[in-house]
Structures are given as structure tokens and as C-alpha cells.
Assembly symmetry: C2
């Protein structure tokens, strides 16, 4: 019944690894940057293509020349984000010194909150929505990594090298404390006065906190 349709030249945004021209690389990046801004503040459903187009300084049809759909832009952002999201924890070394390692992990996460607040908000927005687009990532990749690192933390606690605390809650506490400085930055600014950087004093405080928490 269905007539065999002739092969159609793929749009550059499409799946296949099409070689990308300078213009494509540049404009895709501009679009992703604009989309990150909009998605991270309004969530997926609250963001509009017109808004992203305006932010990017491109026309809406032009966005859809580079990406197949609103969904595709969002998906690309998430993919790129999740690819690097695990890195700070992955680096945590079971062979290293417990306090140094955990402290360094905390510092890496805090640094990410300072350097990539929009990515942090994008992630937060997804979780608030129930994480429908990240479920498999969290259930598989993230969970496996956390389980592994939690075993190391537990081993350190058992060996008396750090205090006897629940390793999962230790990890959650680092996520909570560091991401708070990115996700709740407006609140912090309004309370502390617009003068400060929201993270002013955070590193000192968190070092103090984890030094005391971890001491065996």
C-alpha cells in the first residue's frame, strides 16, 4: 500500500552524525546556550520556542532548521549535562585519604555550582517534575555510581578513618548544600544584599562543616 518514499536529504539537526559546517557548529551552540537559559528558569513546558529564538537572536524556523523539535533541543541539553554530571563523584578515589577525597569532592561540586548554575537549575527543574526524562539515567548510571562510592565511604567508616555516618546521606548532603548555592541564588542574594556573590563564604563554611562531621 505505502509507496516507497524516496530517500530524503536529512536535516542537519537529525540523528545521523552529519559532518557539521562552521555555521552549524556555531549556531547549534548559540541555540543550546539560549535554550539552557530559558529551560533552566521556566522548565520544559514553561519555555517557548519564541523565547529561545529571541534569546538566541535567531528566527523560530531557523531553530527548527538546526533541531528537529523543542523536545530535541531539550534532550540534547540533558544529554550533554548528564554526560559530565557524574564526573566530580567518579573522581573520588577509594585509595586516597578519606577526608581529603571527600573534601575535594565537595569542593568540585561547589565549583560546579559556581561555574554552571544554569545546568544545576536545569537539573533541579527536571527533578521537581518527577525526573521523567532522566529516570533511566538516575536508576542506572547515577545509582550504580552512588552505590559504589557509598561502599567505599562505608568501608572508611568501618575502618574508623571517618566518623560512622550513613554514606548515602553524606553524599546527599553534599548535593544539597552545594546545589543550594546555585539553585537558590536569587534568594541568597536578596537576603545577603546584591553586593555579595551568593557563594561568598560558602567554601569556608562547608570546609568547617565537613571537617567536623567527618572526624572519626
Amino acid at each position: 500500500m505505502t509507496a516507497p518514499r524516496p530517500p530524503i536529504a536529512e536535516k542537519p539537526g537529525s540523528a545521523r552524525k552529519a559532518p557539521r559546517s562552521r555555521i552549524q557548529t556555531r549556531n547549534r551552540q548559540i541555540i543550546l546556550d539560549a535554550a539552557l537559559e530559558v529551560f533552566s528558569t521556566h522548565g520544559f513546558r514553561g519555555a517557548t520556542l519564541d523565547q529561545i529564538a529571541a534569546q538566541a537572536g535567531l528566527s523560530k524556523p531557523n531553530l527548527l532548521y538546526y533541531f528537529d523539535s523543542k523536545d530535541a533541543i531539550h534532550q540534547e541539553l540533558l544529554t550533554r549535562l548528564l554526560h559530565t554530571w557524574l564526573d566530580p563523584l567518579r573522581i573520588l578515589d577509594a585509595q586516597g585519604d578519606p577526608q581529603t577525597e571527600i573534601m575535594a569532592y565537595m569542593r568540585r561540586k561547589l565549583q560546579m555550582s559556581q561555574d554552571f548554575p544554569r545546568e544545576s537549575r536545569l537539573f533541579a527543574n527536571e527533578i521537581l517534575q518527577g525526573a521523567p526524562r532522566m529516570e533511566s539515567f538516575i536508576r542506572n548510571d547515577l545509582r550504580a555510581l552512588v552505590d559504589e562510592k557509598a561502599r567505599h565511604l562505608q568501608a572508611w567508616a568501618d575502618a574508623g578513618r571517618i566518623a560512622r555516618i550513613d554514606p548515602y546521606h553524606l553524599i546527599f548532603s553534599i548535593w544539597a548544600l552545594t546545589q543550594h548555592y546555585a539553585d537558590f541564588a536569587p534568594q541568597i542574594s536578596m537576603i545577603r544584599g546584591e553586593g555579595h556573590d551568593p557563594t561568598d563564604g560558602a567554601e569556608v563554611f562547608l570546609e568547617h562543616l565537613y571537617t567536623r562531621l567527618l572526624a572519626p
Copy 2:
């Protein structure tokens, strides 16, 4: 030019303190409950009246019989939320025992995360959007309260009754840690397995943490 328009009977949703029938009280509550569910997961712009109407089991025009607009529903939710949001901190007593007071504050906040996760997510969503609808609340009410309590904490620290830590970051840490269990509950569930309550073990962990952090 404009003809003087006759006084119009106000809709029940309108501003003035109209006396409310049983049906009104009941349906307004049903609507607010449904709206809280929807707004807290999708944010203001991502939520639709149809979705709220479906959740409430009412027709869309019926929603707008009880509230003037989508905005009015959201505003009412925020007003109710902010009215009670400060209470746990307000109770903190400068005359009491420092450790007991701070610990009790942390426990009250954690309890609120368990009891009112949707309210917590609504708040988080607003902050992620830059807090446009809560700016004056944060800049005035919240800031004044935090400043006041921070002075008490500072006095305690100066008197050597708790450790010398930045009082603002101490408060932020309590917000971050307790709200994380509400706002990031899906992530926690997916990592720990659906069996647990996300807040399992949280109280013990946080008590341990603040005991060690606060000790002079």
C-alpha cells in the same frame, strides 16, 4: 465619554471579603489543592487551567467562577504558603539553649519537608524562576527575620556557646539540607530504591551533623 457602569455583583473569587458558603469554601479548597499539585510540579507557566480543572474534577469555567484568573489561584497559594513559611524560624528563641534551639529549628524544617513537600516544591519553583512573585516577601519579611536570628546566632558564637560559624550559612545549610529531602525526593527514591521513605535516616544524620558542627 465612558458611560458610568452600574455596580456589578462581585464574583466570589474577587478581592473583597465576601462571606463564603459551604460550597464555596469546599470548592475553593479543592481547586487550591489541585493547583498546588500542578504548579508545584510544572511551575507557573508550565501549568494549565485544563490540567488543574481535571485534577480538581471540575470544569474549567467553574475554576474561573471561584478565582478570577490563573494568576489569582497561584497568588492565593503563594500567599497562604508564605504566611506559614517563616513560622519555624520565628519560633527560634534567643533566650533558649543554643544547641536545643537550633536543633529544634532543623527538626521543624525537616518535618515541614515531610508534611508539605508540594509547598516546598512550589517555593523552589518560584526561586528557580528568579522569585519574581516573592521578591518583596524575601527582601522584606524573610530578610528581616533572617537578619534578626543571625544576630542571635552570632551572639551565641561570640559568647562561645556554639562554634564560630557564619550564622547566615548556618541558616542556609538548614534550608538546603531539609528542603532537599522534599524537592529532590524522586532522585533519592530512585537511588535508594522505592521501598524507603526518602527521609529515612535523615533526622539521625542531620542531628549528628549539627551536633558536631555546633559544638563550641
